[in-house]
Amino acid sequence: MTLIDQRLQQIFREAFDDDKLTVTDSLSPETMPEWDSLAQVKLIVGCEEEFGVKFTIEETVETTSAGKFKAVLALKGVGR
């Protein structure tokens, strides 16, 4: 697991209040009933604060899996 993955996992654990959550790319609202709009806001704010980036309106809606969060963060230069 890369350092970015570890930081992202911590954001997910805090958003879902679950210290044991293991984040995989396929983690999504379909596989996780707790992933609602409030959780989505927590994930976005968590990423913005942790990585110093800002999501566009489209990105806030389109980041519907952990893998997509990683992809958006990569597009913003996180990890480069």
């Binding site: 379909e30 009933p33 709009s37 806001v41 927590k42 806030t60």
Partner: protein, 476 residues
């Protein structure tokens, strides 16, 4: 994990808790106001859930508690009146963990540590009369700070929470109760909801019996962190400044869009015209010269305000009560040949199951059964009916979160087709509307949506083009 209690909260429970906490926010107390909030109906106070969970846990233990050293809570989602929730004990020790759940969903997580009893020498004043909620916007929020008195009425608290009320020092419970008054009444106030609490209690308590607060951080989605402190406690609260109810465009703003007289042959009834799509449709039709009647079920004031606004612009609109589930004739001077059906329940997803039969049945009640009954009722007065039935583009997009909604709208479309075949003098127009800026789509996350007036006007015109005119002959 051991379930120690379950409960269904009632409107009387809401009033009782508001009376001891001072949090009278309408999202908890007012069915009409709450329907325009994120939750769509009155929601149980998070701190009420917390106090009930602590009460249930203390009642289930053999050992007495004397006070708290720390307490944290995270509220993951709201609980509506009538929903069954349960309290589970995950750790039954001095350091405890509780969870509140509904079906298989986690509603709230509570962690804490019991401590020694701490005395606070000052007398805590009883609650004063409820004030109105403060309205705060995102610009004012980051600078907000202030102070609240710690109110406490021991008999009322002990009546609601006998174990908790005797186990905890009054100032600790008063501080816990004051947090919901702070969030719901003061900061962020009216348009808010409570999300997290972290409280630490000291071994001594002295000073003025007040809770001082300041906003420590506010993000662009309305997320707010409040730093709080008072005698023998300090901590941090998380809350959200939630979106205010959607205000639709005014008659004056819509006027340039509509051609004079383009709907003048209509005397339409707009079912569910007190807000949202129904409100916009009513305003556009009235601006086009229609003599409109809007109906409401709960939103009498909202409907009357819309009718008054339309009348003030020199157009015609009346408001009338109508229950689509038990349709009865409206006392109207002439039969109405145009019916616009916008009756709807709160549209929400149920993530606890792949497909909720209960939720599907509720949608079908509005979009299928009551729709058909309403048409049959109106058809008794006007055999040639022109009907507007709002369907949804989610049927094309297969909205992942809303399978029950999509299935009910699909059933509604099918009913439209069958009614049109069964009654050749009925013209039913059922466009699949996109997601539009109404209370139903007023979430925490910003979303780009098409202009509701432009979309609605396009469909009103399309329906008009194929309507039966008052002489009963088919239009173009």
């Amino acid at each position: 994990m051991k379930i120690v209690a379950d409960r269904i909260f009632t409107p009387a429970d809401q009033s009782d808790f508001a009376a001891v906490s001072g949090d009278f926010n309408p999202m908890h107390m007012d069915e009409v106001a709450a329907r325009r909030s994120l939750f769509g109906a009155p929601v149980v106070h998070g701190i009420h859930l917390l106090c009930w969970a602590l009460e249930s846990w203390l009642s289930s233990r053999n050992r007495a508690a004397a006070g708290l050293e720390r307490l944290t809570a995270t509220f993951h989602r709201g609980v509506l009146l009538g929903q069954t929730v349960h309290t589970s004990v995950l750790s039954d020790a001095e350091e405890f963990t509780l969870e509140i759940g509904r079906d298989r969903m986690k509603i709230a997580s509570i962690r804490g540590k019991l401590g020694a009893r701490v005395a606070f020498p000052e007398m805590l004043p009883p609650m004063e009369r409820a004030r109105a909620c403060r309205i705060m916007d995102s610009a004012a929020l980051p600078q907000a700070m202030g102070s609240l008195p710690l109110w406490y009425c021991a008999p009322d608290v002990i009546r609601l929470f006998p174990q908790l009320g005797t186990a905890l020092p009054p100032f600790q419970l008063a501080a816990i109760l004051a947090t919901t008054r702070l969030v719901g009444m003061e900061c962020p106030g009216l348009h808010s909801f409570y999300s997290t609490m972290k409280l630490a209690f000291a071994s001594e308590a002295s000073g003025s019996p007040r809770m001082n607060y300041r906003v420590a951080a506010a993000d662009r989605f309305g997320g707010t962190r409040l730093a709080i402190e008072g005698p023998g406690f300090q901590g941090e609260l998380g809350a959200f400044l939630r979106p205010a109810p959607r205000a639709q465009a005014s008659v004056r703003e819509l006027e340039p869009l509509v051609e004079a007289g383009e709907f003048s042959e209509q005397r339409p009834v707009v079912i569910g015209g007190s807000r949202g799509l129904g409100e916009i449709a009513a305003k556009l039709l009235a601006l086009g010269g229609a003599d409109v009647t809007i109906t409401y079920y709960l939103g009498k004031k909202d409907a009357e305000a819309i009718a008054a606004e339309i009348a003030a612009a020199g157009k015609r609109c009346a408001a009338a009560h109508f229950d689509a589930h038990h349709p009865a004739p409206l006392a109207l001077p002439q039969p109405q040949q145009h019916l616009y059906y916008f009756a709807t329940p709160q549209i929400a997803s149920d993530r606890t199951t792949v497909f909720s039969e209960e939720r599907f049945a509720e949608y079908c009640r509005y979009y299928v059964g009551s729709f058909a009954r309403t048409l049959l009722e109106f058809a008794q007065q006007a055999p040639a009916l022109n009907v507007f039935y709002p369907s949804t583009v989610f049927l094309d997009e297969s909205a992942m979160d809303l399978p029950e909604y999509c299935a009910a709208k699909a059933a509604g479309e099918e009913v439209c087709k069958r009614l049109a075949r069964r009654f050749p003098a009925w013209h039913i127009y059922a466009p699949r509307l996109p997601r539009l800026a109404t209370d139903q789509n007023n979430g925490l996350l910003p979303a780009r949506m098409q202009d509701i007036a432009i979309v609605m006007l396009r469909h009103l015109r399309a329906m008009q083009a194929h309507s039966y005119p008052p002489d009963g002959k088919r239009g173009p």
